[in-house]
């Protein structure tokens, strides 16, 4: 085989590989649009807030993906839905407004594609981030106390402070990163119906 022939062949094979996935993928999922809800006129999936998008980056940088996935499967071949990890399976359109779009690597912990439905309360999520064992004494989820600031309580405890017994007049306040992360977690919910994945 001549080197020029080999070069052309390699180039074609690589191009086919790349275009076969990325270009076809673009035509299939890259040009997707949200569905408008007929009653409310809101888009489905809902557009993520700026805070939640920042939170997606916090989620990635804290390495939550090493233990948590963001994709519910099923109903056949998987127990995800029976485990309560989502009202329906995740489909490509659900990731439309995710920036960055992430899927996760492992399920050392539970799937979080619907954590915004399972644990909707800000206080609960904050508490979990600060110390998961406050909510579940046996939790293996690592704590993230660096997402919180310790500050003197002053005359009164602020609204945002964690509901923990205060020591030495200190209160624990979520940093911007914690607020963004919680906004992101709350945005993770697929409780809307899509033509390709209707809610039962």
């Amino acid at each position: 085989m001549k080197s020029s022939h080999a070069l052309i062949l390699v180039f074609l094979l690589l191009l086919l590989t790349w275009a076969g996935q990325v270009a076809l993928g673009f035509f299939q999922v890259g040009r997707m649009e949200p569905i408008l809800d007929e009653e409310t006129n809101y888009p489905k999936p809902p557009a993520a807030s700026g805070l939640a998008q920042t939170g997606a980056r916090v989620f990635a940088s804290e390495g939550c993906l090493e233990c948590h996935s963001l994709s519910a499967r099923g109903p056949t071949g998987s127990a995800d839905l029976t485990r309560g990890w989502g009202p329906r399976r995740s489909v490509p359109r659900d990731y439309l407004f995710r920036e960055p779009a992430l899927i996760g690597l492992s399920r050392v912990g539970s799937d979080l594609s619907n954590i915004g439905l399972r644990v909707p309360e800000t206080k609960d999520l904050m508490l979990h981030l600060y110390n998961p064992r406050q909510r579940n004494a046996k939790s293996n989820c690592p704590p993230h106390p660096w997402l919180f600031d310790t500050r003197l309580a002053g005359t009164g405890i602020e609204n945002e402070a964690l509901p923990l017994p205060s020591r030495d007049w200190q209160q624990l306040l979520p940093t911007y990163k914690a607020k963004a992360l919680v906004a992101y977690l709350q945005s993770l919910r697929t409780d809307y119906s899509l033509p390709e994945a209707p809610l039962k």
């Binding site: 390699v10 590989t17 996935q21 390495g63 990731y95 690592p142």
Partner: protein, 476 residues
Amino acid sequence: MNIPSSSKTNLSVGILLVGSVSWALLGAGLQVLATLQLLVPSLAYLVPIPWIGYGHIAPLVSFLFTYGWIASGFLGVLLILIPRISGILSPSGRLLTGAAIVWQFAVLVGMAEILWSGSTGLISLPFSRSVTALFLLSYLILGSALSRGLGGSWKSGPLLPRLYLLGALLALPLGLGTAEVLLRGGLAPGALQIIMQFVWHSFLYHLWLTPLALVFLFQLLPALTGRPAGSLSLGLLSWIATIGFGGWVGNSLASEGPMPSWLQSAGVIATLLLGVAVLGNTLLLKPLLDGKWEECRRQVSLRFFAVGFWSYFASYAWLAFLALPGVRQTTTFTMVGQATQALLIFSFYGNVLAGAVYSLLPASRSIGWPSHPALTLHFWFTTLGAALIALAYALAGIFQGLALNDPGVPMSTISSYLRPFLVVALAGQLFWWLGQLAFSSIFFASLLKLFPSVAPVAIFPPDREATKQSLTPAHP
């Protein structure tokens, strides 16, 4: 002809290999720390420090192994091998040295980023855009030096290693460049980003590192054993299938959610067909090793190549097994991923790299490996370690997948059942680290010429002639 380029490439080779050995040691140490945290979650409660937490260390470890240890090492030994088979000098030794330094600098910056501010969360792209730029800059120089040698020696030696090198040389810039532009240039919306991440993941491992490892197997196994690789047409078919299907493999590991279903099916089919290509290569290379037990025992490099070769087969057989429909659904998002990593990186690439260093470095440096117990330690500890890690994670992953699919088993029960496997994996990682430590000691001692260089290349005396012949070009 004698090695014309050795003085010019010597420094760059040194930098790439010293970097490689150091990143491997560091990565292996951190890996132990990561596994310890999975095993004893309370550690994170005792010492809550962000940058040594599992979420930072786990992506860092695979970054260090892939880009630091294996990539840097492969580039280093290629810079020894290619000038020797082509007789073509690199344009400028200084430029190559600069490129080698830039590669190490990129790994260093990537490491600092992941430690301090965390990974980007993108699969196989955990670092920032500037690190990508550094890698590509360095690769532009190193890769073009390699391709000059490749083009100039196309006709003067076996075809298959050259074909694999050609595929690898093109795959990295195409994959990394487009992943960077699409993922961080805001050009890929939503689920397309996830498709692109898997494409890049496949390019990195199956179209870059695997073909590079095959360059060494196809070039050096015949040289070391004195036997030619068999049928060229089978080799060509396997090569086409490797380059044609390798880039699709990642899809077979992806979960259902964001991936269109045809892409998953394409991934499954490609993985199975790639398995056939690997079988073809196995049939080609296996006869070279048949009945060579005695040589494998005596020659350090051949021993590592033999294990590397069988791990090549095992890695892709394992990937094909994971792609089977029932298995795939059960094992996505489980620890089988770590088993695949252990097989590919530790057993396949790592052993091929070690074999290449043992056989090629003496030629470039005129140093000999002393017959030192550390060589034996290196081999047994890394082989045993890698096997333990792969086995433990494979079983853990399958078990974890079955348990996850049974909604009656709570998550906390699953984690407690996984503990024994993690203990075995941890032991394997410690073994591997010790083996690597033995290698590093002998590597650095040899580089510093602490041993009397009595017998350069003494590690393969009986086949020395065969080796020399194929390592030096057939120029007049």
